[in-house]
Every structure is written in structure tokens, then in C-alpha cells.
Amino acid sequence: MTVSLADPMFRAIVGVVLGALGTFLLLPHRLGAAPTWARSLSGVLLSVLSIAFLASLWQVPASAFNAIFFFAFAAAAITASVLMITSRDPVHSALWFAAVVLATSGLFLLAGASFLAAGTVIVYAGAIIVTFLFVIMLAQQQGRAVYDRAARAPLLTAVTCFLILGGLVYSLLSLKVEHAEAGHGLVRPIDRVAIEHPTSPNRQVLNRSVSPTARLNEPARVSPTETVPEVAGLGASLFTDHLISVEVAGFLLFVALVACLAIATPKPPKRPAVNITPTEVPI
């Protein structure tokens, strides 16, 4: 097997490895010691190189409008997530998290998943992050403590995250090579007909990543030209192909809810046992 920079897989591997190194160098020290200039600078350089390598894999979407929106949302998501991790004030971090969620749902919207986009905004931006803010504001932390500035296991963190990224890029790239002649790019605005088509890249990713866990009955197959309402299709898929996963997730959430109630219920205050002798206890 020849290795050259023209091979996308090679560029992807180089990008992922450089990214892992750069991120490791940028992560704070295990004990919260201040990083040296040389370390930070080389970390930034490696990360930029890594992004450049990965960016060389991108294909510009077919329509100019989609391209503008895609790159705007993608850049916003990456910038906001870096700021979320690096900002010192927890309230600012939470707000940057909200920005990440909004940018991500913009990307969902471009991919034709409008229900997912709206649902993400409602659940994450509208409820979860507001609850975070609620707690942070009550606790009034400033994020100056040592344990906030230290990373517990920087090496393992970097390796794990970039393994996941590598796997993702690998699966997407192998898909792209197979379908290069059909004109399907890695990034392409899609309509619902294209998703439903059995040889479309999206359908293939779906088949590879989410194999059905259960099936009550054979779902009604739609013809490639017919469009079903998106939400109805999503619901049908969830409650036929993935019934067991859905039920397990629901059960887990229910257990967590019961545990929350058990923890949160106020207990009767314990009286100090100092001066109480058995005869003094009222019956």
C-alpha cells in the first residue's frame, strides 16, 4: 500500500494523530501547574495543523447558500466549544454551551432533520442549560479553584477523544470513496427522498451505525419518491426498529427519576443526641 499525501485516508490519520498530540499539549497539567510557553505554542501549532489536514477532506456543498450556512454554523460550533472549555467563569461556559447547541441544531437543520434541530434546542438550550445556569448562579462559583483548572488524566482523555474522532472520520471516508463516482460528497444538503433511498450515503451510515434492536412488525416500506412526514417517520422507526433501546432508555430515566425523588425528599431533622437519655424521650 503506497502512502502519499494525496490519499485522503492518510491525511485523515495524520490529522487525527496531530490533533491528539496538540490537544494533549494544550490540556492543563494534572496538578494544575501553569503551562510553559513552548508547550502551549507547540500545542496550538499542532492543533492548527491537524485542523488544516482534516479541513482538506471537506467538500464544498453543491449550493452556495448551503455552503455559507454550513461553514458559518460549523465555525460557530467549533469556536463556541473551544470558548466553552477555556472560559474561567462557569456562567460564561454554560452560555457558550448554549451557543454550541444552537450551532449544532443549525447543522441538523441543513441536513434536513428539522425535528431533531428543534428538539435539541428545546431539551438542551431551553431546559438543561437553563437548569445548569440556575445551579451555577446559586452556587456563585468563580472557577478559580485548583481542581477546576487541572485535568485528571490528560493523556487518556486526548487518546480516547481522538480515537472516537478517528473512527468517525474513517467510517465516513470509506463511504465517500465508494460513492465518489455517484457525485455524493461527504457534506451535502439532502432532501428526504435522498435519505430514504437505500444506496444513499446517509442510509448507509444509518444502517452501519444503528442496527435495529427489535422489530414488532415489518415497517411499511416507503417508495423512494414518496415523502412521509418527518416526525411520523421518526416515531415509526423508534417504536418498531428500536423498540427495546427506547424502552431501556425510558426505564433508565425512570429509575433516575425515582432516585432523584428519594434523594431530594426532605428528611426530618436529626436531633442532637447529646442530652437525650432514654427516659427523656417522649413516647
Binding site: A118, I122, G126, L133, P229
Partner: protein
Amino acid sequence: MDVWLIAGILFKILVVVGISQGAVAYLILVERKIAAYAQDRIGPNRCGREVRLPFGLLQPIADGAKMLLKEDVIPSYVNKPLYILAPAIAIIAATIGFAVVPFGPVGPSAPTALGAPFQFQIAPGVDVGIVYVFAVGSLGVYAVVLAGWASNNKYAFLGGLRSSAQLISYEVPLGLSILGMVLIARSLDLNKIIEWQDRNVWGIFIQPIGFLLFLISSFAETNRLPFDLPESEQELVGGFHTEYSAMKFGMFFLGEYLNIITTSYLVVILFLGGWDLPFLNAGQTGWLPAFLKAFVLLGKVGAIVVFIMWVRWTLPRFRYDQLMDLAWKTMIPLAILNLVATAIVVQYAWGH
């Protein structure tokens, strides 16, 4: 073709934003007039007298000029970026919700202009219209929470905390209450819901509990009395906007009234038949029925807005624990019961 499409959308955005902001200015006048009648006063009646306009019809201009020309104080102890961001979020979140709200006939019954159908909606054909409105509406919480926190003032902070708890709690019954209507109309698209009501019967007759729950939770979501705990003047000075002055305060005001308009549109579209009246139906195309439908819709929305303002002077404010009890112990169980009952009827009695 693309250029015309975009030009049309921009034109619609301009018209809708312009009209809604203008409407807000006059809603403030309406609110003051209704308050005056409720308290046996006359209300603002001087502005416009010089040019012989009755009822103080130029009062909104005077109000707007006052907001813009007042001194804009930014206290030294606030968190400045967030202090400035909060009113911007209030107005943006309130404005972009209009994108999927139909303000006239959309779809097959839309009139044609220049060979293409002219849809009375900024973004027609959004499958998940109602979910989008809720998603955008749920972002409005940030304005209040951030204003309360960034002000660095205990009254503002208490207002912000109350508000975030209240808004999150009432979003649950708000979302659950419409699901019955969605199940019956079999779509999340606001236009399809109107068309279903046009063909059959208004939502208020088939989902009375859903209507009541939606109305009550939307009072809470728009911070209107009897749910105005985030700002309750007698307890918290001004609540989350205590530290805001001039147009930054005005922007919160604007956001609140825009939310009232959006909510009223939703009430009308979901439960009062949208543009539907006995002599108007989806089969009529052309410009005259289209404008008639838009005006009918607007009229119903106006009636709901007046109702919301009327309630403000009728009911006293809730206590905080009563507010939470109402949401979690009464409205959410009722909404779930309503949803389950509707689902059973739709599945087994109507045989869909």
C-alpha cells in the same frame, strides 16, 4: 428564480417585523387604556389632540421617543457583556418565532402573484412548525435569567431565579396541552391544523381542556399577571429589569408584547380555527378571500390580546408556592390525562 424567492422572503420579513413592532407600540396604548377603564380613569388622552386625533392615538410615538431619549445608565457593578446581551436575546427570541406563524392562507388556497403562489407565511412548508415555535420560545428564558444575574442586584437576581423556575415549569403543560390537537389534526404544521379545523370543527370544542391549559400556561410563559412573579413590583422593585433603563428596558417591554402577539396567534391557530369562519373555507382562492382571511385571523388575535390585558386587571397575583403547585400538581397531570384520553379516542374510536 432563487433571487426572487429570497427577495420575496426578505419582503415578508420586513412587513411582518415592521407590522408587529408597530402593533406592539399600539398594544401599549391599548393596555394603558384598558387599565384606565378597569380603574375608572380616562387614561392617556392628550397626545395627538393638536392634530385632532382622538383617544391619544399619538401616545405610542411619545412613549417610543421617551424610551430612546432617556439616559441609558449602565451601573458600574454589572457584568457588562451579559447585561447588554440580555435585552437583545429578549427581542430576538420574540421576533424569530414569527417565521412559521401563518398570518393568512397558505398552501393550496394561497393567491398567486407573478405566476407563483404568494404564501402568507415567512417560511411555508415547515413540517415541525409548532415545535419550532416552542424551541424559539424556550430561548426567551435566557433573557430573563441573564438580566437577573448580570445586574448583580438581589431583587433582579430573585426575579431571574423565580422566572427560570416558572418558565421551565410551565413549558411542560404548554407542550403537553397542544399534543391532543396535534394528534387529532395528525400534523405539527400549523397550516394543516387550521385546514383540519376548517373541514371539521374548531379546536376549542374538541379539546376544551387543552385550550384551557394552553391559555393558562401561555399567561405564565409571557410573564403576564396573574403570573408576573419575575417582576412583581410590590415585592421585587421591578424584578429582573430593575437595573435597566431607557431603550434596554424598552427592549424587554417590546419582547414581552411580541411574545403576547405570538401566543395569541398560537391560541387562535390551534384552538379557534385560525382564519376559519362559516363563510370562509380552504376552497376559496384569490386575493379578496386571502385578505379577508388575514383580517379574520388578525381580528381573533386582537380579541385574545384584549382578553389577556383584561385578565391582568381581574385576577390577583399567585403566591410562589401556589404557582408551582398549579403547574406540577394540577396542570401537568390534567394535560397527561387529556393526552392519553385523546390518544385512545383517536386510535380506537376514530380508527385512524
